[in-house]
C-alpha cells in the first residue's frame, strides 16, 4: 500500500476509490449474469422442465454464451427515433441500480462509502431508475413502447410512496439513516431482534413494493408481452436490450440486499450460538440476499399478472393506508415499556 502511495502520490486516493468501485461492480455484474441462469433453472424446475443444460456442465456456461450472442447482434435504431435519447435510456436504467451499491455495507467494515444519509441516498438514487423506462418509451417513437413507459412510470411513482413510508418505520425504530447503524441496531437476541418482527406489515409492504418497483412479475405490466408486445423495450435489440435486462436483475439484487439489511438483520446470524456465529457475517448477508432472490423467482413462477387497475388499487388503497397505520402504531408502541427492540 505504501509503495503505491509513493508511486502515485496525490492521485492515490482517487485510484484506490476507483479500484474499490471496480471490485464492487464486477462481482455484481457476475451475480446478475448467473441470476439469469438461476431464474431459468428455478422456473424450469417449478414448471417440471429442466431448463438450460447444453452449454457447459449442467448448463453453467449459458450466461457466457448468451453474452457472446448478444454482443454480436446488431443494434437497430428505428427510423424517427430520437437517436441520442434512445441510446442514453439503457444507461439511465442501469446506472442507478449500480450507484446505489456505493452505500450498501457488507459487514461492519466492508462498505465503499459509509455516509450518514445512506438511506436517503438510496431512496433518491433508486427513484431515478424510472427515467430509463420513460425515456426509452418516448425515444423509441412507438406506441407500444410509449404505453409501456406510461404504465411503468405510474406504477413506480405509486409504489415508491408505500416503499418510502415503510422505510420511515425503519428510521423510527433504528434512530439512524446510516445503513450500518440500522443493522447494528438489530443485534442482540438473534432473529427476534431483527426489525421484521415489530415492523412485519412494513416488511411485507416493502418486499411486495420492491417486486413492483423492479417491474417483475406479477407486476410486469410495463412489459406485458400478451398486451403490448414487450412494452418500453420493444424497439431495442442487441446490447441495448440486454442492458435493460441487466438493469432489472441488478435492481432485484439491490432490493433484496436492502430488504435483508433493513429488516432481516444484514450480516447478523439468526441465533447467537456456536455453529451459527462461526459463519462470517458476509456469508449470512449473501445467504439472506440469495433467499430473497429465490423468493422473487418463486413468485414469478407462481402468480399470474395483475390487472392494471388492481395494481393501482393495491398500491394506493391498501399499502399506503397499511403503512400509515403501522407507523402510528409503532410510534405509540415505542413509548410503552412493551417495546423490546
Amino acid at each position: 500500500m505504501a509503495y503505491f502511495q509513493n508511486l502515485f502520490g496525490e492521485g492515490w486516493p482517487l485510484i484506490w476509490t476507483l479500484l474499490k468501485i471496480v471490485a464492487l461492480v464486477l462481482p455484481i455484474l457476475g451475480v446478475v449474469a448467473y441470476l439469469t441462469l438461476a431464474e431459468r433453472k428455478v422456473i424450469g424446475y417449478i414448471q417440471v422442465r429442466i431448463g438450460p443444460n447444453r452449454v457447459g456442465p449442467r448448463g453453467l456456461l449459458q450466461p457466457i454464451a448468451d453474452a457472446v450472442k448478444i454482443l454480436l447482434k446488431e443494434i437497430i435504431i428505428p427510423s424517427g427515433a430520437n437517436k441520442f435519447l434512445f441510446v442514453l435510456a439503457p444507461v439511465l436504467a442501469i446506472a442507478p441500480a449500480l450507484v446505489a451499491w456505493a452505500v450498501v455495507p457488507f459487514s461492519p467494515e466492508l462498505v465503499l462509502s459509509n455516509i450518514d444519509a445512506g438511506l436517503l441516498f438510496i431512496l433518491a438514487v433508486t427513484s431515478m431508475g424510472v427515467y430509463g423506462v420513460i425515456v426509452a418509451g418516448w425515444a423509441s417513437n412507438s406506441k407500444y413502447a410509449f404505453l409501456g413507459a406510461i404504465r411503468s412510470s405510474a406504477q413506480i411513482v405509486s409504489y415508491e410512496i408505500a416503499m418510502g413510508f415503510a422505510l420511515v418505520g425503519v428510521l423510527m425504530v433504528s434512530h439512524s439513516l446510516n445503513l450500518g447503524e440500522i443493522v447494528k441496531g438489530q443485534s442482540g437476541g438473534g432473529f427476534w431482534s431483527w426489525y421484521f418482527v415489530p415492523l412485519f406489515p412494513l416488511f411485507l409492504v416493502y418486499l411486495i413494493s420492491g417486486v413492483a418497483e423492479t417491474n417483475r412479475a406479477p407486476f410486469d405490466v410495463a412489459e406485458g408481452e400478451t398486451e403490448i408486445v414487450a412494452g418500453f423495450h420493444v424497439e431495442y435489440s442487441g446490447m441495448t436490450f440486454s442492458v435493460f435486462y441487466l438493469a432489472e436483475y441488478a435492481n432485484m439484487i439491490l432490493v433484496s440486499a436492502l430488504c435483508s439489511l433493513m429488516f432481516l438483520g444484514g450480516w447478523l446470524p439468526p441465533f447467537n450460538v456456536a455453529p451459527f456465529t462461526w459463519i462470517p457475517g458476509f456469508l449470512w448477508l449473501l445467504f439472506k440476499i440469495a433467499f430473497l432472490l429465490f423468493f422473487f423467482l418463486w413468485i414469478r413462477a407462481t402468480f399470474p399478472r395483475y390487472r392494471y387497475d388492481q395494481i393501482m388499487r393495491l398500491g394506493w388503497k391498501v399499502f399506503i393506508p397499511v403503512t400509515l397505520v403501522w407507523i402510528v402504531v409503532v410510534g405509540a408502541w415505542m413509548q410503552t415499556p412493551l417495546w423490546l427492540w
Binding site: 435519447l85 455516509i115 450518514d116 444519509a117 436517503l120 441516498f121 431512496l123 433518491a124 438514487v125 427513484s127 431515478m128 424510472v130 427515467y131 420513460i134 425515456v135 418516448w138 410509449f146 406510461i150 412510470s153 405510474a154 413506480i156 411513482v157 415508491e160 439513516l177 387497475d309 388492481q310 388499487r313
Partner: protein
C-alpha cells in the same frame, strides 16, 4: 482547491442546463434539461454540507415531480410553429419584464443585508454532525407551528386539486373489487351433464 473546481463545474452545468431549458425546441428535451439543472443544484447544496436538502431535491423533484412533468409533456402534441407565433410582437414586453426583474434582484442581492459581504460563509462541521437530525429537531420543536400550517395548506391544495379534477362520468365502466371477490362459482357457472349422443 478541488471544492472550488467542483463548485464551478456544477455552477456552469446549472447555468448551461437552465439556459437550455428555455432555448431548446423540443419540450421533452427541455424537461430533461430541467432534471439536469436540479441535479446540478443538488450538487451545489452538497458542497454546502446541506445533504438532506440536496438528497430531497433529487428525491422529490427529480424522482417524482419531473417524472409526472415528462409524463404530461410527452402525451401533449405540441405544435412548435404555433408556439413561436407572435414572438417578435411580444418580445419588447418580455424584455421589459426581464429588465425589471434583473433590477429588482440587483437591488435586493446588492444591498447591505443580503450582499456577499453581509453573509457569513458556512462553517465546516465535525464528522459526527448530522444535518438531517438538526433540521428535524428545529422543524419539530422551534418551528413546529409554521411547519404544521404549511403542511395543512399543502393538504388543502391536494384536496382541492382532486375536487376540481374529479368528475364522475356516467358512461365509464369500473370494477368494484369487493363485488368481484364476493362472486361464487354457483352464481356464475352451471354444470350441465349432456349425453354425447353416441349411445
Amino acid at each position: 482547491m478541488i471544492e472550488t473546481l467542483v463548485f464551478y463545474f456544477f455552477s456552469a452545468l446549472l447555468i448551461a442546463s437552465s439556459f437550455a431549458v428555455i432555448t431548446v425546441k423540443n419540450p421533452v428535451h427541455a424537461a430533461l434539461f430541467l432534471v439536469l439543472a436540479f441535479f446540478s443544484a443538488s450538487g451545489l447544496w452538497l458542497l454546502l454540507e446541506a445533504e438532506f436538502l440536496a438528497i430531497v431535491l433529487v428525491l422529490v423533484y427529480v424522482g417524482a415531480v419531473m417524472v409526472l412533468f415528462l409524463f404530461v409533456v410527452m402525451m401533449l402534441d405540441i405544435n412548435i410553429a404555433r408556439l413561436r407565433e407572435g414572438l417578435w410582437a411580444w418580445l419588447p414586453f418580455g424584455a421589459l419584464l426581464a429588465i425589471v426583474m434583473v433590477i429588482e434582484m440587483w437591488i435586493v442581492l446588492g444591498s447591505e443585508r443580503f450582499g456577499l459581504a453581509g453573509t457569513i460563509a458556512p462553517e465546516g462541521h465535525p464528522a459526527g454532525y448530522s444535518n438531517t437530525k438538526e433540521l428535524g429537531r428545529l422543524i419539530y420543536t422551534h418551528y413546529a407551528y409554521p411547519f404544521e400550517i404549511a403542511a395543512v395548506i399543502l393538504l388543502v391544495a391536494i384536496v382541492s386539486a382532486i375536487a376540481l379534477t374529479l368528475r364522475r362520468r356516467k358512461d365509464t365502466k369500473s370494477q368494484v373489487a369487493s363485488e368481484q371477490l364476493a362472486a361464487r362459482r354457483e352464481e356464475r357457472v352451471r354444470l350441465v351433464s349432456l349425453s354425447s349422443g353416441k349411445d
